[in-house]
Amino acid sequence: MWTLARKILLHDRVKFVVAAAGVSISVLLVLVQIGLYLGFMGNASTLIDHAKADLWVTASGNEQFDFATPMDERLYYRVAATPGVEHAERMLLSFGQFKLQSGGTQGVQVVGIEKGARLLRPWNLQHGSLERLDDVDGIVVDQTEFAKLQIKEVGARREISGVRSKVVGLTKGIRSFTTSPFVFANLDSARAFSRLGPNDLTYILIKVQPGADVRAVKARISAMPHLDAFTKAEMSERTRSYWSKRTGVGVGFFTTAIMGIIVGLVVVGQILYNGTLEHIKEYGTLKAMGAENAAIVRVIMYQALISAGVGFVFGGALALGAQAGMKALNLSVSLTPTLLIGTAVLTVVMCALAALLSVLKVLRLDPAMVFKG
């Protein structure tokens, strides 16, 4: 039956190419749009996901990770003394103005971490030394932001918000969602770069004691005035959810992906239905001769599956090409195995749905029509 389905489908090559192209474009749109979305969302929560903290503590009422209101350092000591807390670290996340070699400025997200920090440190270091972050003016930036920051190497000196800084390390792949490059610095430098007070911080990162109940520790901290505490998973989800839902980013990406699916449905449905109509007398003859509906439906569904398979392979290849092309533009398309498998299943379902009209046509086909001229 596979052979029959393939031969019928390939008999008119132009139509088959159009069907495969329709599925491929559909697959491409779904993969690239959702891949871009996942890439952006990965950037949005990258600091949280890479930190080794069990809990994130912030000033109460902060809705958004990147724009958190600072809190006083005295709260840190109260949190650190909470039963169940093994280790606590201060962190600052704020914005500063990075002076460019050309004379202009570039907004940056300053990430202040403690000297000898254990819960959040820059990762994927390519050049330089993380120990040098303890230097009074040391900063670590990401290679992918070279163009924005107009620097090329470790040792470059620039001012951030009027304060001197020196690049002591280069990472690879640490990108922010806000498009303002991350600049890692020690806590004191970060406060200066952000023009915040000497006691200001935005987050307290917590490692709970081995065997301690994370939820119980979280509840103890949340019960303190002026503080909210979140588990790592909650904080990550909260951050991605904010950007996805509050800004409409998610709706935009998924709308395009859904339109891709609709395009695929219409194109494949049209091609399969036309093909069924072209062969309606032959199918009628088979029914007259005693073929069961299921046997003929199988032939049509196999055609849909072949279209899905070919379309997915070509669409997937196009998506991989788009991923490489967008990487050059500093855009991250996250084609995860889950996304690829999910899209493959979606493609099969889409093509099967597209075949439904043809299936209905065959199911309703009266075999007596073969005698009607």
Binding site: L4, I8, A288, M289, G290, E292, A368, V370, F371
Partner: protein
């Protein structure tokens, strides 16, 4: 309950009528027709256009249910069988051939025949169906052309493929709806020779036609006129 059929007929219509529509607008396509087709005979059905020939053939082939009357196949009234039982009964009883051949243009002659064999019985393995298709195509004189698609075959050759396809699954009765209408005279007679040959194996053949020249191949001829079926006597045939 099993019913006694007319001299072991493959299929027998008893007082079969077919009405289309209802009430005042009802049209009688077939009126109290009785007809039996026996193994080893070639029956010709003649009649003008719109006379009810195709309706009769469709009823005999279980493609249309009669409004009244009985259709006896394998000792049972097939007209009363549930819809889901009909495909299997059709598959083991009938092969069909048509004026327009109805072959899949994408498949070569062998695959067209093999497909019908597998559609009739999905349990038949692909290799077995192909071997059987090759045997049938050789039998109808197309052994050398079995790997050609219909587009590369003449009208007569296409009809031979259709006959081979109709023989798939070894049905006892072949029903043909004007199988020679699209063919030139010489080819039409060759096709009829082939169908006549099938009766020598004990198979029944029913052919609907307008062409009186085909009478010489028939064991019996029935005429359908305005829904009424009448068997022509030998003296009428000679006239």
């Amino acid at each position: 309950m099993e019913m006694e059929t007319n001299m072991n007929a493959i299929v027998e219509a008893r007082v079969v009528s077919k009405l289309y529509g209802a009430g005042e607008t009802a049209v009688t396509a077939l009126s109290e027709a009785s007809l039996a087709v026996r193994p080893g005979e070639l029956l010709l059905i003649e009649g003008p256009s719109g006379s009810g020939k195709t309706t009769l053939l469709s009823i005999l082939g279980l493609l249309l249910r009669p409004t009244s009357g009985q259709l006896l196949i394998e000792g049972q009234d097939a007209a009363r069988l549930p819809e889901k039982a009909l495909p299997r009964l059709r598959a083991r009883t009938f092969g069909f051939i048509f004026q327009g051949f109805n072959l899949f243009p994408a498949l070569d002659a062998r695959d067209n025949v093999a497909l019908a064999i597998r559609m009739k019985d999905p349990k038949v393995r692909s290799s077995v169906a192909r071997a059987e298709a090759e045997r049938l195509l050789t039998m109808v004189g197309l052994g050398e052309r079995m790997h050609h698609v219909p587009g590369d075959l003449s009208g007569g050759q296409k009809q031979r493929v259709a006959i081979a396809r109709a023989l798939g699954g070894d049905p006892p009765l072949i029903l043909g709806d004007e199988p020679t209408a699209a063919l030139d005279s010489k080819t039409a007679l060759a096709v009829m020779d082939l169908l006549r040959g099938l009766t020598r194996e004990g198979r029944g053949v029913v052919v609907v036609t307008h062409d009186h020249r085909l009478r010489k191949y028939a064991d019996r001829v029935v005429r359908v006129d305005d829904g009424h079926v009448e068997e022509l006597r030998a003296d009428a045939l000679a006239a």
